[in-house]
Symmetry: C2
């Protein structure tokens, strides 16, 4: 498995364990109209101490701030993800947070209602991006790029009913890796699955499983079971709910809501309740009905090849062929996959947390062509890591461990025990900054020594430089190690070199 | 000045110089309605090769994609900025891309019309954030945080008429550093100016100047000149235009649009056309009218102290007291500042590029209180780096240099000269990935050797592993240096160690 630098298991669990919940949001219900609130705000600027207890202060529904502690954890998670993408040769790309509304139209099936639209303020009609895949396809078509391996880390927005306990938000990060281009079958697809395994192993979230299926196999099943072609998308959406609903309920939806004949639904049921490894692929090849369908055979042939490559990559045992996997999005055309964590809490105290899928993706060979004026196709396959859901697991673990994590990287604190030493402290700290040393001081003219030392202990700052009258006269500086409380006197002119030496050793 | 690690002048200029413009956007004018376009899109999924030349494909007005080359440059710029923020002990923070609309109301003065609102889709009224300062103040009030030094790098959105040649976009990155809390005067303010100097020096964009002023001095000037208090904000907005308009035009606006008496405007003109160093502060202390104004005296006293600290920090010569500096935003209450680049193109071929201010900030002691239900104040001072404008300068320089920059970090390419070696290549590359080595291969069953080697040369990949039948039999692998074209045979089992050794040496 990849060497993750700083992220050894011990350090990582300590990190994951040390966070505390951010202070809860003050949320006072409002009874005023918006203009009244605006008025209250304006008045407050003139009379800031006026009582205004009917005032709401919160983030929008389904969104949150990330505190410094949370930022440290998120950055560690993103580090693991992005390092893996770079290990596989991906280039970075960024696209705007919003797209022309029409770019997102007819790409997301039943989920399209969850797109955030911007108000028409004169000009173009815009929507916030719903994922990073459609903007990538738009980029490829717009710039006539025929081949590209890119990663993109960015926020996306969906107007879902937020169930925040499950780690679902209306604003969340996605980390996407995609390979665009015409290549020999299943080699890029296998790499995507390998990447998912590397990232989920690297994040050390416990055991996981990747379910795979193929849209062509699903379509083949629908065809041989007797679903009219016009209902393929609708029935596919129903199958997609099998991870949250029982087959009985899904069957009910197919028959009652989507008007499928009961016997057709039953035939589908026989298939979509199967899952297994490569042997299930072989079994489906022998299936008397399915083996008559050209699309299904293509899908089965590709899955067989895919399993062969996954074995060479050493990850086949993490992957399960699951005929119930459908993926909600309209744009998939071939292999699809979704990674779920297997619920084995690391600690007995932890309650199992249902976070749903933590990574997913698939092949979408038609999407770029939808944007190209001439319909030129660029086959693509990719994956998306659900960082927010992973983050939720980490937040869950926050309750268990007790050590602090550092939210700053400060290396040296410039302190004084004496009054009227601000000038000397400012001159000294500027020298440290200019030498690239991370340094802080107290923003007080005459701070007391003890609070300065306490601050260093609380913040985990390793070194303190202490300057006073005696030191100034003798041309020396005291350098204190916060951990050992040892102090040594150093010549003023050697201070920067000595600090750099100590920092490089630690 | 800070040691910026990899960013030595030579490397940096090479980097800045090597970029090429991204391929231009395909932009075909549309005559169809939105629903027709949607229909066309939907149809295209079924018939992807159908001609649809009336189709627009572009990013929204005032926005752009960043190509991999541009991403490399942007990340280098952000690295310099964020390293500096961390050197000064700042913690990270993130807030949602949108806020409740009312949170942004009455914060931005005349610019409020540039806020992007989201469509009312049922629920809360939302707006995209306009800067990172108001969300920071909202965070402090909501969580009752009284003291915090934080940085935030994120996109903000403004519906400005984009003049893209000048590096102005409707979506752009801001990099903010702020110090919240009650401290002894001007110490945090001086640190903010020091940070601006460190970043602008570190980015090596040529010479720069930081203009400073104080809102209390401006208000004092308005008071002693006879401006009615109700017009302070409006007149301040006019003064703010002095960097783009002549005094004559600004005076005209004050008198004709804002109804100021001509003689009052003339009195203002005598002040706001002054700029200089610490001596101008002394001169203003002696001014017979201004010295009668309590607010102005407070502002002048603080500026005097600020210059003293800036001298200790070694940056006073970069700072100019400029009475015309007003800053458009309503929320500033004390010292304000703005950094401009002095137009000295590095190369004779470069045309001067007017990018306006590249960094700005100031003190806003009342903003947090506007969000607090009881109006509790938390004094704040901060700065914002305009990355997009800095990026524009870099893009300008792209035309001059000629070397390539790498858009991937791939270290090793796994190649073969023979047919039917896919399995061996897949096994081998998985081994490299699992050892943390950045590796790629060609997604072909039987690639030819020459295109594989050319790809390495084009992409700057330093090492190639070559495997063939002979090697497989003998249990060896060929390792090729792309630069020297030297090849050595290595035992298969020593390959990872040998690669790691070579990479650590280079």
């Amino acid at each position: 498995m990849p060497q993750l630098g700083l992220l050894h298991w011990r350090a990582w669990t300590v990190l994951l364990g040390q966070l505390r919940r951010p202070p809860g949001a003050v949320c006072i219900r409002a009874v005023r109209s918006h203009s009244q609130v605006a008025e209250a705000l304006f008045t407050s600027q003139l009379k800031p101490h006026q009582e205004k207890s009917n005032f709401i202060i919160k983030t929008p529904k389904g969104t949150r701030d990330l505190s410094p502690q949370q930022m440290v954890v998120r950055e560690k998670i993103l580090d693991v993800v992005v390092s893996c993408f770079k290990r596989h040769g991906a280039k970075g790309l960024d696209t705007p947070a919003f797209e022309l509304k029409e770019m997102l139209t007819e790409k997301y099936g039943e989920d399209s209602g969850l797109i955030y639209d911007l108000q028409d303020q004169g000009g173009e009609l815009l929507s916030l991006r719903y994922d990073l895949t459609v903007p990538f396809a738009r980029y490829l078509a717009m710039n006539k790029v025929k081949k590209m391996k890119r990663y993109h880390v960015g926020k996306v927005w969906r107007r879902e009913s937020p169930t925040i306990v499950q780690g679902r938000y209306r604003e969340f990060y996605q980390c996407d890796f995609d390979i665009a281009g015409q290549f020999d079958p299943m080699i890029p697809d296998a790499e995507c699955l390998k990447i998912m395994c590397e990232i989920l192993s690297g994040l050390q979230l416990g055991d996981f499983l990747i379910k795979i299926n193929d849209r062509r196999i699903l379509d083949g099943i629908f065809a041989v079971c007797g679903v009219p072609e016009s209902k393929f998308h609708a029935i596919c959406s129903s199958v997609d709910k099998l991870d949250k609903m029982s087959w009985k309920d899904v069957r009910h939806e197919m028959v009652v809501k989507k008007g499928l004949a009961p016997e057709v639904a039953d035939r589908i049921g026989d298939y979509v309740q199967c899952h297994g490894g490569i042997s299930l692929v072989e079994q489906m090849f022998q299936d008397p009905r399915l083996s008559q369908n050209k699309q299904a055979l293509e899908g089965l042939g590709d899955l067989k090849l895919l399993f062969e490559y996954l074995t060479l990559f050493g990850v086949a045992e993490k992957v399960s062929f699951d005929l119930s996997l459908a993926r909600g999005l309209d744009y998939y055309t071939g292999v699809i996959y979704e990674a779920v964590l297997l619920q084995t809490p690391v600690h007995a105290e932890e309650e199992p947390l249902n976070v749903g899928s933590v990574a997913a993706g698939g092949r979408y060979d038609g999407l770029v062509g939808m944007f190209d004026p001439k319909g030129h196709r660029v086959p693509c396959v990719g994956l998306s890591i659900g960082v927010e859901r992973i983050f939720s697991i980490v937040e869950q673990r926050m309750k268990i461990f007790g050590e602090k994590i550092r939210t700053t990287e400060t290396q040296v604190f410039v302190a004084t025990p004496q009054k009227n030493f601000l000038q000397e402290r400012l001159k000294l700290i500027a020298e440290l900054w200019d030498a690239g040393i991370k340094a802080e001081l107290m923003y007080k003219n005459n701070p007391k020594l003890l609070p300065q030392l306490h601050y260093c202990e609380n913040m985990g700052i390793p070194l303190v430089v202490i300057i006073g009258e005696q030191e100034l006269k003798e041309g020396i500086i005291k350098l204190r190690s916060v951990a050992s409380r040892e102090e040594v006197a150093i010549k003023r002119e050697n201070l920067v070199a000595e600090i750099q030496k100590r920092l490089s050793e630690s």
